[in-house]
């Protein structure tokens, strides 16, 4: 310190330099003013996307609802468009069934994996396993579809004899496997960002790892965890190729997972990639189903967000 003071004489005057730079700083100030606008524009993209989706879906749905009444669409329990029955319930039921099975698979496995990686595994193990798990989310869904159809279904059939070749169970199961990393990886991140001082506080009281996890880490990371689960569920609802290939294409209002069903997405693919004549009621129906799917995810997400806001803990 003494040296510092001795050399004081020949030291530069920082504030003076700052003053000088400040005059040149009008560029910086302009950036400072432009940046928020640029960022707002970017944030607006997502709003525009929603508007675009609504526009797309509504424009064509209007065509559909001029032929089929809104009431019949939402109250009918039979979906067979080629005989003019447009009750969307079986498609919604199929979607729910798949989502339920997938969630039952992915949330426990994903959370447990996240806990293992964040709290039990050492750094090396985490650094290897986490990215490897993430690969699961990146495998093309077409691949999963065939995996479900040619591997999982036969496997399940060996202990559920009357399982059909197309069934909600293996479709949902594989969707669940696919979304494990969404839950695991994002939850792990949330848990990882819980300050270590909190863990130390609990360990210092003689808590076991498990108690630290459940009483300190999980509550502190809850909002991140719920966010990850919402993302995962949304993905399950919107999953298309796996259910198209493995769950069948039978609009079937059932909650029996061994039966073949059809989800909303699977119907959209069927109608959109098929040869539906442009302008026919069936062609328009895919937009009405899309619209329903959209509303569906909206409601789901609002509920989830409500829960997440309620449980949010600040740290």
């Amino acid at each position: 310190m003494d040296k510092g003071l001795q050399s004081e004489g020949k030291m530069i005057d920082v504030q003076q330099m700052i003053e000088k730079n400040k005059k040149k700083k009008s560029f910086g100030e302009r950036i400072e003013r432009i940046i928020p606008f640029f960022l707002l524009l970017c944030a607006a993209v997502s709003v525009l996307t929603t508007v675009g989706i609504l526009f797309t879906l509504l424009r064509e749905s209007i065509g559909f609802f001029s032929n089929v009444s809104l009431f019949d669409f939402y109250t009918g329990t039979s979906w067979s468009p080629w005989s003019g029955e447009y009750g969307v319930a079986p498609l919604i039921g199929g979607t729910l069934l798949i989502t339920l099975i997938a969630t039952l698979v992915a949330v426990p496995l994903g959370l447990m994996s996240a806990i293992f990686l964040s709290e039990y595994a050492n750094d090396k193990v985490r650094r290897v396993i986490k990215p490897v798990l993430e690969v699961l989310a990146g495998i093309p869904t077409v691949v999963y579809g065939y995996f479900a159809l040619t591997f999982i279904t036969p496997m399940f059939q060996s202990f559920i004899p009357d399982l059909g070749i197309f069934n909600a169970l293996s479709g949902g199961f594989v969707v669940g496997i696919m979304i494990i990393p969404m839950v695991a990886s994002l939850s792990e991140d949330a848990m990882n960002s819980v300050p270590n001082a909190l863990r130390e506080g609990a360990y210092g009281l003689g808590a076991t790892k498990l108690e630290v996890v459940f009483k300190v880490v999980l509550p502190a990371a809850l909002s991140g965890i719920i966010a990850s689960i919402v993302l995962a569920i949304s993905r399950a609802i919107g999953e298309t190729m796996i259910v198209t290939i493995a769950a069948g294409a039978t609009p079937n209002l059932t909650f029996n997972p061994t039966e073949s069903i059809q989800t909303m997405t699977a119907f959209i693919v069927q109608a959109a990639t098929g040869d539906t004549t442009f302008g026919s009621t069936i062609y328009y129906s895919l937009y009405a189903v899309g619209m329903t799917l959209f509303i569906f995810t909206l409601v789901m997400n609002l509920i989830a967000q409500y829960i997440s806001r309620k449980f949010r803990e600040e740290y």
Partner: protein, 310 residues
């Protein structure tokens, strides 16, 4: 969806472009856009692949978004060739006319729609058209095999069918069901993916379904193809001979491509490719598991095509 009025400008552009090219003669180049039936796709891929090796400057792209998907684009002039496993419908033709597009049909090959059951099925070998109707029609009460024939087991019939509006279904619907609705619901599975149908049928002795001959041919060891009899005649099973000579009726069908005549006139490369296509389609069809037309039929169509340019 939209975009019909774009056509004129698009055509104008390509016109000037190709004009200069045409003068250069021999070395053709430029883009060709093809879309349509997934059934026809393998033939078309075969043709464009070999064509591209001879003319690397021609930039061919082939999509397979289904017969209807192809017409959706061809009737507004977005593509040059539109593959189809069924003839164009009137409303599609009308759309094309509205947009000033002239579409002309060319036949490329035959396909035999094959009605199949699992190898594990030991009771059915052939069906009459009436029995097919009983099985597939919505209006029929038959839900059990025993409803069709009392000797057959009292098990539910499981139906596997291509997507309801695909070219393949359309054809079946037209010639067997006579445009009446097919069964839907619990015991029916629809899929655009014929391999999925194969899987579904192969493991279920009570399943029945239909699709293109090539899919049956590849899965002969797990599937059993049924003979079809009409008007009390002897039942006929599909094979290359019965399909080509027309004895496998009524389920033997032609596969088409529809040429955008405006493009044909204006683009040298389209003209060149159509000629190549008609000269090689038979070989290509056989290579991918379909049945070639008689040779003279291709030549006949080639002459017709040449007349469009006038």
């Amino acid at each position: 969806a939209c975009g019909g009025s774009d056509e004129d400008t698009a055509a104008d552009e390509s016109n000037t472009e190709e004009g200069t090219n045409a003068e250069g003669s021999e070395e053709v180049s430029g883009p060709i856009a093809i879309d349509g039936s997934s059934t026809v796709f393998p033939i078309m891929e075969n043709l464009t692949y070999t064509y591209n090796q001879e003319h690397p400057d021609v930039n061919v792209t082939v999509n397979s978004s289904g017969s209807g998907g192809g017409f959706k684009k061809s009737t507004v002039g977005e593509i040059d060739l539109s593959n189809a496993s069924r003839p164009i419908k009137e409303e599609e033709m009308a759309t094309a006319e509205e947009n000033g597009i002239q579409l002309e049909e060319l036949e490329l090959a035959y396909d035999g729609l094959s009605v199949v059951v699992s190898q594990q099925n030991d009771f059915v070998d052939e069906l009459t058209i009436d029995q097919l109707k009983q099985i597939f029609l919505e209006s029929s009460d038959a839900t059990m095999w025993s409803d069709i024939n009392p000797e057959w087991p009292e098990e539910e019939i499981k139906i596997f069918s291509p997507g309801h509006d695909s070219g393949t279904f359309d054809y079946f619907n037209e010639v067997i069901l006579e445009e009446q609705p097919m069964k839907e619901g619990e015991n029916t599975t629809l899929s655009e993916d014929d391999n999925v149908l194969v899987r579904g049928i192969e493991n279920d002795p009570n399943a029945i379904g239909f699709f293109g001959y090539a899919y049956y041919a590849e899965n002969e060891d797990v599937l059993k193809v049924l003979g079809i009899s009409e008007d009390g005649n002897e039942a006929v099973k599909p094979n290359p001979e019965t399909i080509q000579d027309g004895s496998y009726t009524p389920l033997s069908r032609p596969l088409f491509t529809y040429v955008n005549v405006n493009a044909y006139k204006e683009k040298t490369q389209v003209r060149d490719f159509v000629e190549y296509m008609l000269n090689n389609a038979g070989k290509a069809a056989e290579e991918v598991g379909y049945v070639a037309l008689p040779e003279d039929k291709y030549q006949e169509q080639l002459e017709t095509a040449k007349s469009w340019a006038e």
